[in-house]
Symmetry: C2
Subunit: 680 residues, 2 copies
């Protein structure tokens, strides 16, 4: 079937790399036409587990499968710190909760990466039918951006040539070890592993005819790993350094008398290095083991041949002594050299985007690997999706770099500090300046817990976050961001006044969750459950005390403006579609539920009528006590006045974009005019 000109086709989004972050993108409802390619012919990371932090679980929940992860995973509840005593023998010195109490309705859990990929793939199938499938054994060969068309909404300016590999070419090599361990290893993707093999694969593949294809894409997302082909092709760099610290990882079923093997443990031995224990599901435990007996050579690279499961495990045994540990079953193992790097640029022309390892690499011990990556994807996904569909303006795409490069930089800084403290020798006393103080380590852990939860992220000003300041100050500091990110004009004083209307909902941060009741049926919901990742913006109307006639008048007036023919809400809605297609209005009021009636007390736009199926009963909620699940106290927790309420605009990824008084309809309209394509 060979021919001279390869087949050519158009697609809205091309995703390169089918790892967990790559396949996350098209997992929400109404995603544009997409193809996902991966050079490997099979899912390969069979053994690896990941810690899932609070924010990742909130994201999973918004995608509809938080409960599946929660049910299958091991829950990590407590961190035990083990340090050498005066006699040099390790003993438990501290216990702290693994997740800060009260931070989120979820706590950190640990789950097999394969299961997480399964949840994403199930969602792709659920929402795309069979129109989006991962195409394996497909490799990008070239990428060109047509600079004349990058600002043309209708164009497909990114031309990518693909090569279809043979089965043999697409099968990843597995390192062979002489050990008793039959488990698969992850060295081939570790930074101790071989160089990437794209060039070699392309050369081989070219010997066969007719095995290539050209795709013209509106947008390309490169999720193709730390040695990202996409990044290298764009000519972007990863800035940063490798350290001398080398660690091994083994996921085993331990047979041991160590008492805290089912706790997350940070263990510093006196002189044999450090070890972290991460208990997993199904009796498995992940051990992260410092390998003090192997160091990088002059070129900065470690000798990979020495690193075997037996070598790694014997290091673990020394650190854990006098406790005994052994195993019969090993699920997976790898080794890596700690290093921290961040990409110089996260996108090219707002047409080609880099995510995950392609723009930040760091050590896995802080449990951030998959979490930050998924948050990258969650940030980028809705933006590309809504722009490709013509719902959002292209301007919002610049906020990907300004928002996520800042997070990547923070992560790298945290990881540098944490790795140093964890890999260092414990101080023998206050005078031991070269050793690491265990008090300092504990402090770093406690502080780090807030950062690693993913809930301290606070996005800077942009067209989708109305804040004072400029991108250079609160964004990633790059010249590019400074130039490209459009912001709304707002003075610090004005901002402070608005922010005070809902002090528990900081602009730029994710909407925290408290229980509210459905007005029509009294069912309690965690409010975040109503903020599904379906690509819709939301207006939250804190309607206050709706039974007070003065307040009712304010609510009626606000709703009349929302409902008016030329309102942003009407103009954002595609003709013939329901009024909640692009922006959904949700209400939380503070009057007593039993004294209030949905149809009597609330304007129609808050519970729209449909002639086929009647009133919408799922948009008005009340801050009141439930029969069975306590009292969420939402107004108090969100810091909103119970009488007067306020209005909050929320992005599709649950981040607060704007807030104001009920009278500030112009401000609300301005927010949406800045990011949505409004008709008419």
């Amino acid at each position: 079937m060979s021919s001279d000109a390869p087949a050519e086709s158009n697609v809205d989004v091309l995703i390169i790399g089918a790892g967990p972050a790559g396949i996350q993108h098209p997992t929400t409802a109404s995603w544009p036409r997409t193809r996902i390619i991966d050079k490997r012919n099979t899912k390969i990371f069979c053994g690896q587990a990941d810690g899932l932090q609070c924010r990742s679980l909130e994201i999973f929940d918004s995608l509809g499968f938080g409960d599946r992860a929660w049910k299958e995973a091991n829950h990590m509840i407590e961190i035990c710190m083990w340090n050498p005593g005066a006699d040099g023998v390790i003993r438990r010195s501290d216990r702290i909760p693994d997740t800060i109490v009260g931070l989120s309705r979820f706590q950190q859990i640990v789950l097999h990466q394969g299961r997480i990929e399964r949840f994403f793939l199930d969602n792709i199938k659920k929402y795309s039918g069979d129109t989006i499938k991962v195409e394996r054994g497909v490799l990008p060969e070239s990428l060109e951006i047509d600079m004349d068309k990058v600002e043309d909404d209708a164009a497909y300016p990114v031309k990518v040539k693909l090569r279809i590999l043979s089965d043999e070419e697409a099968t990843p090599p597995q390192a062979q070890s002489g050990s008793k361990v039959k488990a698969s290893d992850g060295l081939f993707r570790s930074n101790l592993g071989m160089e990437d093999d794209e060039e070699d694969l392309i050369r081989k593949s070219k010997a066969r005819a007719g095995e290539s294809e050209v795709v013209n894409a509106k947008y390309v997302i490169g999720c193709d790993g730390a040695r990202s082909w996409t990044r290298r092709t764009l000519g972007f760099e990863l800035d940063g350094e490798a350290t001398d610290f080398i660690w091994g990882v083994m996921d085993i079923i331990p047979v041991t008398d160590f008492p805290d093997i089912r706790m997350r443990c940070a263990i510093h031995s006196a002189s044999n290095g450090s070890l972290m224990v991460i208990p997993r599901e199904n009796r498995l435990v992940g051990l992260y083991i410092q390998l003090k007996e192997v160091t990088p050579d002059a070129s900065g690279r470690a000798d990979r041949s020495k690193i075997t499961p037996d070598f790694i495990f014997s290091a673990a045994q020394k650190i854990l002594a006098p406790y005994k540990i052994n195993y019969e079953y090993c699920d997976w193992w790898t080794a890596y050299q700690i290093g921290q790097r961040v990409g110089t640029s996260f996108d090219a022309e707002r047409r080609v985007f880099l995510a995950v390892d392609a723009v930040h690499t760091h050590s896995p011990k802080a449990g951030q690997g998959m979490n930050v990556s998924m948050q990258d994807a969650f940030n980028l996904g809705w933006k590309v999706g809504l722009v490709a569909k013509g719902i959002c303006k292209r301007e919002i795409l610049s906020s990907y770099q300004s928002e996520r490069r800042r997070v990547a930089q923070d992560l790298i800084e945290f990881d540098q500090k944490f790795s140093r403290l964890f890999s260092g020798r414990p101080a023998k006393g206050v005078m031991d300046a070269e050793g690491v103080s265990m008090e300092e380590f504990k402090e770093a852990f406690l502080k780090g817990n807030m950062f690693t939860s993913g809930l301290s992220v606070n996005y800077g000003p942009s067209c989708i976050v109305v804040k004072p300041g400029d991108a250079a100050e609160q964004g990633d500091g790059s010249e590019k961001t400074k130039k490209l990110v459009a912001t709304h004009a707002i003075t610090p004083e004005e901002f402070q006044r608005k922010q005070a209307l809902a002090s528990g909902l900081p602009v730029g941060m994710r909407v925290n969750s408290f229980r509210v009741l459905n007005q029509a049926c009294a069912r309690p919901w965690h409010f975040q459950e109503r903020l599904k990742a379906d690509g819709r913006f939301r207006v939250i109307l804190f309607a206050g005390n709706i039974l007070n006639p003065g307040q009712k008048e304010r609510v009626d007036k606000f709703c009349a403006q929302l409902d008016a023919p030329g309102s942003f809400l009407r103009r954002a809605t595609p003709s013939g579609k329901p009024i909640d297609t692009v922006v959904e209005v949700l209400t939380i009021h503070s009057a007593k539920r039993v004294e209030t009636e949905l149809l009597r007390d609330f304007p129609e736009v808050l519970h729209p009528f449909d002639e086929h199926v009647g009133w919408d009963y799922n948009k008005v909620f009340v801050d009141d006590e439930s029969y069975h699940e306590g009292y969420g106290n939402a107004y108090k927790n969100y810091g909103v006045d119970r009488e007067r309420g306020c209005v909050v605009a929320v992005r599709p990824d649950q981040y607060v974009g704007w807030m104001g008084e009920l009278e500030d309809f112009a401000g609300l309209e301005g927010y949406f005019a800045g990011c949505l394509v409004l008709r008419g």
Copy 2:
């Protein structure tokens, strides 16, 4: 492929009828060889929804899919009572919680029967692989019990001849209506529908050759409906009467201004009859509508031809006036005549059992239809399963009738009272003796809520419930039960003394659930989550204050007896199998978690060691505060002394069978000797 002698084979269990209760039986791990047959060639009850009560959800959870039901269902939170005011116009007179607060960790929900069947079928697949499949279009033709072999454990004394139907024969007839409604109806299975068609089907099928087969079963379970072929073949009766009350059911998406359409409502109109509103998932609402304009004729049968969706709906509109209601979409409709009947006998020779509609029929309005049926199946399932596998003695099978016929009788009584109150005309005042007092109705509702939750069930004495009294007193009162049910000898005084050791765990009732923490990893669990329906009995050791040396000595002594070579635990365990195969020992202690160590403070039998996978970390729990999920206060709630603890034996269906002091090892051993087959 015809031959003269039909194929003949053996099977442990043959289940006749693949409704929800039929397919529930083989949904747990390690179920014996089973076949499930159904005369219909397809699942047919496409539209019907069911209320799932607390106990049903606890059962679902023990089977592993409570979360799926909880997530997909509509949650019913509140009941609103509507009655005529002085002007004869209906108005809301009361609100009460739909589930009694604090009763269970679940509340009543409503879900499509098709989804519930799906959960069961998924479980069958999960636990049986593909060895158990529903065989559709298969009809039983004859059933004979070989009386010489009924007490022989190794025998297959029930011979059932099966006929394999053609596709056409197995397709159920659908009533055709002249209405706009295209929805399927359930009249063919209603008691207003046609007679069952087994004889007709068998006659037709016999015309074709080679379409029959003989199965020799150890046990047969008939779940084949109110006109059960199995029951009729055994010659057993259903005792009871039909009433004159006729009701229609419609599941629609309503377009209405009735304010409580998303609440469960009980509506009595002044003179147009009564209506119940049951809100469902996906905007659907089930309406249960009294049809005052159709009454049974002299023979006691109603004229079915008058009953159409339009007829039913116009009755609903009259009852709801002055509120307007309409619909475009109807999912399902049916009609039925209220009647209450209970089977005279629930089993034949403890070899053939009847369950569900085959032994009790009643009105659907109390929301008990599927619930009592599933509880029947849950009660019978483990008994048949464990006896068929040679783990339990045949004696336990008599308790199916003594336990479940009592419940069926209570249900019938409740339903008679409730139906009378609900179908009666509301009283016009205190002098209106013929009318129903709305106060009395509310009282009945409140009391009924405890009964309908399924949590008031308290099983009488038998070999698996150690209680004073005899079967005639606390069982179903039948001569058969009196004769067959073996009981343990215990005086009322002795029983009272034992029961006082755990006053919150009444012997004969299900184990309530409170949060406890896993000692090894600090994870909070609802204790019921550890009582999975995997066919295992459990010993719960309330170990008390294990850090008190005197108490530790008591625990050590108890454990030494458990662990001794000739103990019931060792004798119950098949040779070469883990010690927790038949009876699992779970511990809850009351010392501080952080002061206690699993490996240091607890005898090995409480956390058994395995040379391949190490210690068992999932059997010892502590009554202590959690970081994120509060304090379960289990000792207080179970009414157990925090210092001295006690021992409780729990059946595979979570019912308490026995309790005693730690010193009463003989009592515990006696309990298990009475129901388990002990080796040696």
